[in-house]
């Protein structure tokens, strides 16, 4: 009987979010020539349009979960895990669009392409979340990355943007090459690119372990670049510092969460049978990433750079959860990424607001006295910083708590102790921002701060509510994560 290659309607429903976002992005690109104008803030028609399409995609991903299963010959799979990450990256997209509107108006930049690129990037991440197959993973990664490269250099007259985009592009492509090379090795040794088939093949144990381990290592290197894990983290600070602030917010959360989704899915399912081979590597990388990120962050004087190193450190915490290699570990990683998404987007939104035109004010010292000039914004940034430190009643705390709980469950006592000590070190540099905001007298930089625009306020307050909600009532998200976690 010939195989029927025509997808069923249920399968179309399962990729509906990607379809919606692709169509919306394409539409924006087409209409840009007609309606495009400088200063594409919230007045631009593309702002509500991209928001609506994101909300539609969000609903579509929830609807798709109503009928979970594989799509397109097992290329994609819609399960709880995929849905969690789809909702996460699309939610991040919504917050990013809100925080970009002010920025685009301020920089007097065209809006259409920007929103379209964000949508495309999310399409890629959404595919990554649902990919069940190495080629699909590669395609998703490329869609997401290429859009991100352009976003990082969106203000093309700004040399910092250019540097950022070029660096991101070169190192990113390099990483993708590693990944692709690993995929080739895997295909060569197991004869499949489907994660389930690879797992089955590895369970049989006929494949030479050295070959497969090398492949796993190559794939890990490629993904480690994307999540900015040590020793492949060096691109992150430069890219994060140079890119427009709302883009940095987006980059530090969306692509990273999607890359973690892949990492967890590939290593928990496909490479599950050869755990002993890769676990020590991840252990070491997790520790190195936390330590490098935290200690380098201490020395930073630019807040975007500081948050870049902090995001490296946080990738290290999530890797601890991956090292735990259990259902609880991946649930903890999912929860952590959600909490981190709210926290970091919020923190960067305040930075976006404060930096003003041309991103003049991004020094940590520029924040002096913000608490007296804009107490509400300072209070919100404090919530985000406390969440990054991991103080109770914030999402960041519960994230850390679940991660280290999972790690202790997996008997990773040393990694837990060192990770917790790391988080105490991290308190130092986050506190520095609080010190400057609250304890110093206002300087020149915090004079004449215009009130924040409505969309930006929505991002800031929305993220703060999210951060606190995950800190006070974490059960709801965690229960879903535990149910959906891969084990």
């Amino acid at each position: 009987m010939p195989v029927n290659y025509l997808p069923t309607s249920a399968e179309y429903l399962r990729v509906l979010p990607e379809i919606i976002l692709t169509l919306a992005g394409t539409f924006i690109m087409l209409l840009e020539g007609v309606f495009g104008q400088k200063g594409g803030g919230q007045k631009s028609i593309f702002f509500p349009f991209s928001l609506l399409s994101l909300i539609a995609a969000l609903l579509a991903s929830v609807a798709a979960y109503g009928d979970p299963g594989p799509a397109f010959q097992n290329m994609l799979v819609v399960d709880g895990f995929a849905t969690f990450f789809r909702v996460l990256v699309i939610g991040v997209g919504i917050l990013a669009v809100f925080s970009s509107a002010d920025y685009l108006r301020r920089e007097n930049s065209r809006g259409g392409e920007f929103y379209a690129l964000i949508l495309f990037s999310i399409v890629g991440q959404s595919i990554m979340a649902a990919a069940n197959e190495l080629i699909m993973i590669f395609i998703g990664l490329e869609i997401s990355s290429i859009a991100s490269y352009i976003l990082a250099g969106y203000l093309r007259d700004d040399p910092r943007n250019n540097e950022s985009a070029l660096k991101y592009f070169l190192l990113g492509s390099f990483a993708t090459a590693f990944l692709l090379y690993g995929v080739a090795w895997i295909y060569g040794s197991t004869g499949s690119t489907n994660l389930i088939d690879i797992r089955r093949a590895l369970l049989n144990g006929h494949e030479p372990l050295g070959l497969v381990t090398t492949a796993a290592a190559l794939i890990f290197v490629g993904l480690a670049f994307k999540i900015s894990a040590a020793p492949f983290q060096s691109w992150a600070p430069d890219v994060y510092q140079g890119a427009p602030a709302p883009v940095t917010a987006f980059l530090s959360v969306g692509p990273k969460a999607a890359a973690f989704a892949i990492l967890i899915r590939v290593f928990m399912t496909a490479f599950g049978p050869i755990t002993t081979a890769w676990l020590p590597i991840v252990w070491g990388v997790a520790l190195a990433t936390m330590t490098v990120g935290n200690f380098a962050a201490i020395l930073q004087s630019n807040i975007k750079r500081l948050l870049a190193y902090s995001s490296i450190a946080h990738a290290g915490y999530v890797l601890v959860a991956v090292t735990a290699h259990s259902g609880e570990g991946s649930a903890a990683a999912m929860f952590y990424l959600a909490a981190y998404a709210f926290t970091n987007i919020g923190a960067f939104a305040v930075v976006t607001y404060f930096a003003r035109k041309g991103e003049r004010y991004t020094g940590v010292d520029d924040f002096a006295g913000l608490a007296q000039r804009q107490p509400a914004m300072a209070a919100m940034l404090s919530i985000f910083l406390l969440s990054l430190i991991g103080v109770p009643l914030t999402g960041g705390f519960f994230g850390k708590f679940y991660i280290f709980k999972a790690a202790l469950d997996a008997n990773l006592v040393w990694l837990t102790v060192l990770g917790l000590l790391n988080s105490a070190v991290a308190a130092y540099y986050y506190l520095r921002i609080l010190v400057v905001m609250y304890f110093r007298e206002p300087g020149e930089a915090s004079d004449n701060l215009p009130p924040a625009g409505m969309p930006l306020q929505i991002t800031v307050y929305g993220s703060a509510i999210g951060t606190l909600a995950l800190g006070i009532f974490p059960s709801w998200v965690l229960e879903f994560a535990s149910k959906a976690a891969l084990r």
Binding site: P375, I389, K405
Partner: protein, 501 residues
């Protein structure tokens, strides 16, 4: 909803009320803070009711409700004879701290009182939590407002002091968090009573090394907070730089979080390790007693002097706890309250003097008794209380500690008693230099006597000094009966016998 819930959450309500008060009306913030804190204190008096005619052991005003479904974290709060007075100490000192800051704090008034009231919420929470996780949450939550109180409204080196305070405490508490998670993984619950009963029935048991590590993780967090020598270095900085209300809350209540933790968690949960490490800890406590006193002796700065005297006094508390005797433990708990009252009063009085003279150096004073006789009398009473004069509160505590310690190990007492003598030296010498002699012209000009508001703030503490020194029966029975239970729980031999049965 029990009375305890009301007492716990009223400050949080007050915090949000304060946020609503308009920024440009500082008087309204002050009034709101005062009303809220007085109201909380009035409500907390009701907590004494079960202890008025009896001295029951076990939990009172217990409320146990689910908070987070998985892992099972519960909102489980209650008080017993140990926490009762510490809760009351917190609720009493908060309105006093508000009064003390009335004029002293003149910029960003609203935020100051908001943080102060938030601090009260955290402190009460620490003393009433019976869920280890909840306890940790409050432990950390209380850290944040104190950090801001020191950092924004402190003196010159406030930022250094605030950051040091935060990092020290944070470093200690992350290890405690690891231990809490480990306990959960082994026992399946965060509930204090449940873990305790699992330990006692032998369902949960650790080998000696694991127990020691767990004990040390908890002990480290508490020892930093107490602070025990050699982890005390954050304390003088924080105290000297903090505003008066900050020093008051820090010394009187916050340090007690550490000693409370030792009694509540370290002793019953890890009795074998606690007994094994007792000589080492006692040695550190004794070093702290003598070292703190000696350093206090040579301090030219009044606040620093009082801060080092705290190190010395809290050494007594730790010594009493690790004597594992009824008297020692009773004395330790009593001494926690005493120290809160008399050292709190000292910090207030030093604050009063600072407001007048704008200096903390002893050398800037001299002859204060002439222009401000009432201040001098009040300071004298407080000084005498602090050095343990009979009929005043500290005497009772120190005596009980020394008596209990003597039963455990007589050598310890010999050294610890040195601290009592030294405390008389540094306090009386301070008094002599600051209050006696001839007042200079400018000093007389600045040193006005106590105002009615200042009287109102200090009188409750003076009354308590005498009351607690003469009529211990009001306070001691609930402490004693609860301590007897804790001692029984922390007898390693008792558990062995129980297991054998």
């Amino acid at each position: 909803m029990t009375l305890l819930d009301t007492v716990l959450f009223l400050p949080l309500v007050g915090f949000f009320l304060l946020l609503l008060v308009p920024r440009n009306n500082p008087q309204a913030s002050r009034m709101t803070a005062l009303l809220v804190s007085v109201f909380v204190f009035a409500a907390s008096l009701g907590l004494i009711a079960p202890y008025w005619f009896a001295a029951p052991t076990g939990w009172q005003f217990e409320h146990n409700a689910p908070w987070i479904s998985y892992p099972p974290i519960r909102y489980h709060v209650a008080i017993d004879g140990l926490s009762l007075w510490l809760v009351l100490l917190s609720t009493l000192l908060t309105p006093i701290a508000v009064l003390v800051s009335w004029k002293h704090i003149d910029h960003r008034v609203k935020e100051f009182f908001a943080f102060l009231i938030l601090l009260e919420f955290g402190l009460i929470g620490v003393f009433v939590s019976l869920d280890l996780f909840l306890f940790y949450v409050f432990w950390e939550v209380s850290l944040v407002p104190m950090y801001f109180l020191v950092g924004v409204w402190g003196h010159e080196r406030r930022i250094y002091a605030a950051v040091k305070f935060f990092l020290y405490t944070m470093a200690g508490s992350v290890l405690m968090l690891a231990a809490i998670i480990y306990l959960y993984n082994k026992s399946g619950t965060f509930d204090y009573s449940a873990i305790l009963s699992q330990l006692q029935t032998g369902r949960l048991a650790f080998d000696a090394r694991t127990q020691l590590l767990l004990f040390l993780a908890f002990f480290g967090a508490f020892a930093i907070k107490v602070p025990l020598f050699p982890l005390h270095t954050w304390l003088p900085d924080a105290h000297v730089e903090a505003p008066t209300a900050g020093s008051l809350m820090l010394a009187s209540v916050m340090l007690k979080m550490g000693t409370y933790g030792l009694v509540r968690y370290c002793l019953p949960l890890f009795p074998e390790s606690a007994h094994d490490s007792a000589p080492w800890i006692a040695a550190l406590a004794i070093i702290g007693i003598i070292y703190g006193a000696l350093v206090a002796l040579v301090q030219p700065n009044m606040k620093k002097l009082v801060a080092y005297s705290s190190v010395s006094h809290l050494g007594f508390v730790v010594l009493g706890i690790f004597s594992f005797t009824q008297q020692g433990l009773d004395g330790a708990v009593y001494q926690m309250l005493n120290h809160g009252i008399s050292t709190g009063a000292l910090f207030m009085l030093v604050g009063y003097m600072y407001e007048r003279r704008h200096s903390l150096e002893i050398a800037a004073y001299g002859g204060v008794a002439t222009p401000a006789p009432n201040l001098a009398v009040v300071f004298l009473i407080t000084t005498l209380a602090s050095i343990g004069l009979p009929m005043l509160n500290n005497f009772v505590g120190e005596y009980l500690v020394l008596q209990g310690t003597a039963q455990a190990n007589f050598t310890w007492v010999v050294f610890a008693a040195l601290g009592v003598i030294l405390s008389a030296c540094y306090m009386l010498w301070l008094y002599q230099r600051a209050f006696y002699g001839k007042a200079s012209e400018s000093l007389s000009h600045h040193m006005s006597d106590l105002t009615p508001r200042e009287w109102a703030a200090i009188i409750p503490l003076l009354v308590l000094m005498v009351w607690m020194g003469t009529f211990t029966q009001t306070f001691l029975p609930p402490i004693s009966s609860q301590n007897a239970q804790i001692l029984q729980q922390s007898q390693p031999a008792a558990r062995v016998a129980l297991n054998a049965r």
